[in-house]
Symmetry: D2
Subunit: 348 residues, 4 copies
């Protein structure tokens, strides 16, 4: 069986495991106050090109979202996000559990439109009854989105401009950030991010770590963040585990190398499907690829390949997702393409 289900099916990239082994017997203080964590934060600040950024490592992604959003919003505010946003769909109500409403905007292949955002905020304050409604207090977006799509630099600038004019922070959920930055169509870098938003997180768990996300914030933005993280259950006693992993990810470009490897294979995979006559369900150039396949092909592929079902399209077709990671081998992709091409699309 060859696996394309998702990018968190294995342990960690071998280099991270090696460093965890090498340091295993060392004694350090807990809760991320150790030297590994300090160094990892420094490396994150360096790659982001700003020595003043606040960096915090948190165990999980849902936890990171719940904690950052809770730290940023006032009581009367909610978080703007598009309908398909992870926080709105797949976090089991973690945001609302902290008392905050998600204010939804239309999703365009997983993306928020800056004009619609501006209009939402304008209409909110134009409404005489706005003090009876939840005020837009921040914007949440994902990069890449849940559909593997990317905002262009220009789109991010426009979103950030609307947010700045409204006086609300822009937060980027980068659970798969690496796969965005490594995409051939990406026109931003790590060091652009602190200028394009107010706070973002660099996903570790889906890009080679056992677990862990790095929250990067404008200095002073996340007030009293340590106890807020603790309150949300996101403080790891053996905090250095996060530090050691991120230190390794940001040494010798490992983070982006992992991402590039996965994206290249994903694009190869995509091209193979297209060559066989299958058009992508959504046009992604990151490590997630979506296709609507005839059920017969899907069933055939399932004998040797594992991948996720994203729901039926009528009686005869199904949308499915293929995901690559550091652990995907070129031969895995070749085998899949071969299997697909043995069953070319009749529409071809």
């Amino acid at each position: 069986m060859i696996y394309f289900d998702t990018d968190y099916m294995e342990g960690a990239h071998p280099k991270l495991m090696q460093r965890l082994m090498e340091t295993n017997l060392e004694h350090t203080v807990g809760y991320g106050c150790d030297a590994y964590t300090a160094h990892a934060k420094e490396l994150v600040r360096q790659i982001c090109g700003d020595p003043d950024l606040d960096v915090t490592f948190i165990v999980g992604g849902t936890q990171t979202n719940a904690t950052v959003i809770d730290a940023l919003l006032s009581r009367h505010e909610g978080v703007l996000a598009c309908e398909t946003a992870h926080i709105n769909v797949h976090e089991a109500g973690a945001i609302e559990h902290s008392g905050h409403k998600i204010l939804t905007l239309p999703a365009h292949d997983g993306k928020v439109d800056a004009d619609e955002l501006r209009e939402y905020i304008a209409q909110f304050y134009a409404d005489d009854t706005y003090e009876h409604m939840v005020a837009p207090g921040m914007l949440y977006i994902t990069y890449p989105t849940e559909y593997g799509t990317l905002y262009s630099r220009c789109e991010l600038e426009r979103l950030h401009e609307v947010c700045s004019q409204a006086g609300i922070p822009l937060y980027i959920d980068g659970a798969r950030l690496g796969y965005g930055l490594a995409s051939p169509v990406c026109d931003i870098t790590f060091s652009d991010l602190p200028k394009l938003c107010d706070v973002f997180y660099i996903g570790g768990a889906k890009v080679g770590a056992l677990f862990g996300e790095a929250v990067v914030a404008r200095k002073g933005l996340l007030k009293h963040f340590f106890p807020v993280v603790k309150q949300h259950g996101g403080l790891l006693s053996k905090g250095r585990l996060l530090g050691i992993q991120f230190e390794t990810l940001f040494t010798d470009n490992l983070y982006l190398d992992i991402a590039r490897h996965a994206v290249e294979l994903a694009i190869k995979l995509k091209e193979g499907f297209i060559a066989a006559g299958y058009r992508p369900f959504i046009d992604s150039l990151t490590n997630q690829q979506f296709f609507t396949l005839p059920n017969q092909l899907m069933d055939n592929l399932r004998k040797d390949f594992s991948f996720e079902n994203w729901g039926p399209r009528g009686e005869t077709h199904t949308t499915v997702r293929f995901v690559t990671s550091w652990a995907t081998e070129p031969s895995d992709v070749s085998a899949l393409i071969q299997a697909v091409q043995a069953f070319p699309a009749v529409e071809k």
Copy 2:
């Protein structure tokens, strides 16, 4: 420098690291639905002697407490705990963040007294205005306590009896459970626990794991627990990391071996202090030892040893804590005893 600060200063016990390495490249489904996790749950059920128990692995301890308590309480209920309970002091308000009041009872060396518990509940319902107050909805205790002390079997039975009569569950926070079960004065075993309480957790992070706690509950007690864990941010995408670690801890008695090693060294340490004329601050027979030392001795020890300060006692003395773990060497303890005995108590 020799470290006695706490039991979470290192990585994981080497056997756990070895298993994480061996399995690192395998592909498994996420969120704890893998075979390692299933097997680890089975091993936990076996050692607890009840094939019907619900077992859930959660990343962190504060998270585990917040999630279990949130899952057990109704809106109008609070959790009973003694003043010194971890949830009341050192969890940054995580319980209240979920909307629940902690109803405090007096602490007796970290323990709740069954008579005081019974009296609290009786007085509550005797009060005409009780519907204006937060109802006692469950009891939280720690085993061992924050002071290294232990409840006897009889004490646990009496607490459980009071809870049962009141119709409320008894929950045991076993962050350091192993060190309790491995204590020479412990008169209970793993298989007693499901009869002595309704839900408990087996601490991993402080007993040899990188992280992770195993919640063990009476079948059906924790309803819809999966989404509640997710909502609290406690669901690990690479859930097998918890499964593999607990599988290893519960293979060949590793969990209790680790605990026994630490407890034996802690008792040796304690006896060394007593021999030098220092009486324990609290009489513990687990892996935490507390002494009130002259500041001069404390300062002397600090040159070679690292340990926690638990607060001044007047101008000249300070209470300190020494903790052992799987990573403590017998020679570490010998060196400490030697240093203490070079400075015997004048009161001796």
Copy 3:
């Protein structure tokens, strides 16, 4: 100036004020444990035709919604409601403040469609990842809706059937319930409501009371509701004020008489607009009427009449709302119609 802004611009219906005056100097116990409140509950049970219903009086509408929803939902559940539902728009996030997500359905003139509801629930449980999402835990609807529209008996039966099959309660927000029951197109009565839903509230503040809402629930559905109401700040110390008002409203048919008076005037008003060539924005036969008027007419009317602006329709028109109540005089409506007919629609 003649007022059509809303139905809560005056004090209480004179009969309620009279009873409050008559009883003002009497001494009663607090928190709704008095005889007036007991009698009022009895009257509510009588008109609803079921002696076993649980009746609770709460001060305000938002509070009532937040409290009932909080009492009904488990942690992992959210409340289904249509996009335009009061709880989703105009309650300042009170539902989310209690930790619950609102799961939105499309709104059809303010109404939920039973087929869409069924489909939502079916798709939810068909999704492999449903345990990562907020489960539908109850349905919230308004009767009449925020747009003055009404569900037919058949529509209510179908909604209730879908809810029952899904095992979730149906809750009707009756902030303006009287105006629904008094509508000429209404095909249900008070005594149908306990069979058509699991819990509903009879709005007082908008139907002649100073304040107050009566929650009517299937016996035992709202567990420990007294302390939950208190926790939500909805328990009035001088609780009899609610009892006395509802006792009066449900004596000699006052509640429905008030509503009938307002609905008749609203329909007369509507017919007057139609006669002048203006078509309703939404077809309501309750006490709220919506029209999209030329801005010139709107500005003209504003000289003598007060009413709410519901937002611009293009450059030249605006949607506005006219609301009647017990305090609206027939002459008020005549004056308005006369003013409108002096400015007939050119489209006529």
Copy 4:
């Protein structure tokens, strides 16, 4: 039967009822944006001697506490209060429902001691682990306390000084404020309060109103308070009901006249008990009086008088409470004294 149970057993003071009747048919905008409310706010500012104060009327006391505390605290902060504080005992967990921990201090006849407060804060920040604990974010006190006792001006100044030095606001719950200010031992006035604390509320429901509390805050302290009040369910649609009542209470000194009447009768009552040989349980000079009586006397009195039981003192005695209000007649007190003196204390 003569009633001394509490000060909220009747409707409103007749002057308030009269004004509610006089204004009943007037039309005003909702939610407290009317002219009556504006005028009432102005009167409150005047009596408090500061034209810049923010005044907000809220329906109920528990709601007021929950809302003010929620508006003042950051996520990582809790509210300091003494063990016997109303918020800690009799608000059904409303504060925790909003996510905040109550940090308890010892109670001295219902009062917080400034030195103990200072010491608590000092010890908190001296603790190395303070970021794992809930930070003291504000102080809550009651004036008068739940036991009818009063802080002296000097005590309030010292509490305020400690708070100011710690950078946290001092909030006074004045549910019975009038009865404090009207006490012969009171050494402060309304106009001192804005200097002695940061925010306080003037209780209406217990001092002659049907319901309602007036929150008085340093300008700008309670940010975005309108939507926060709405979110907590404390916004009354017919908001003018609060305005009209407070306008009347603060016209011609009615508020303090009501309080003075009640306090004078309470002191007369107290002196009667003392003359009969009964010593007060707590030495109060406000409208609440506490005595520990022989059960035989208590049972005798119950035939003609109604009052609250505050719990048994041994087998033979019970502590009881007598409360006076605007509705208490001098003859009620004379009758009670007569009944008591017919049964003089043997200890006399």
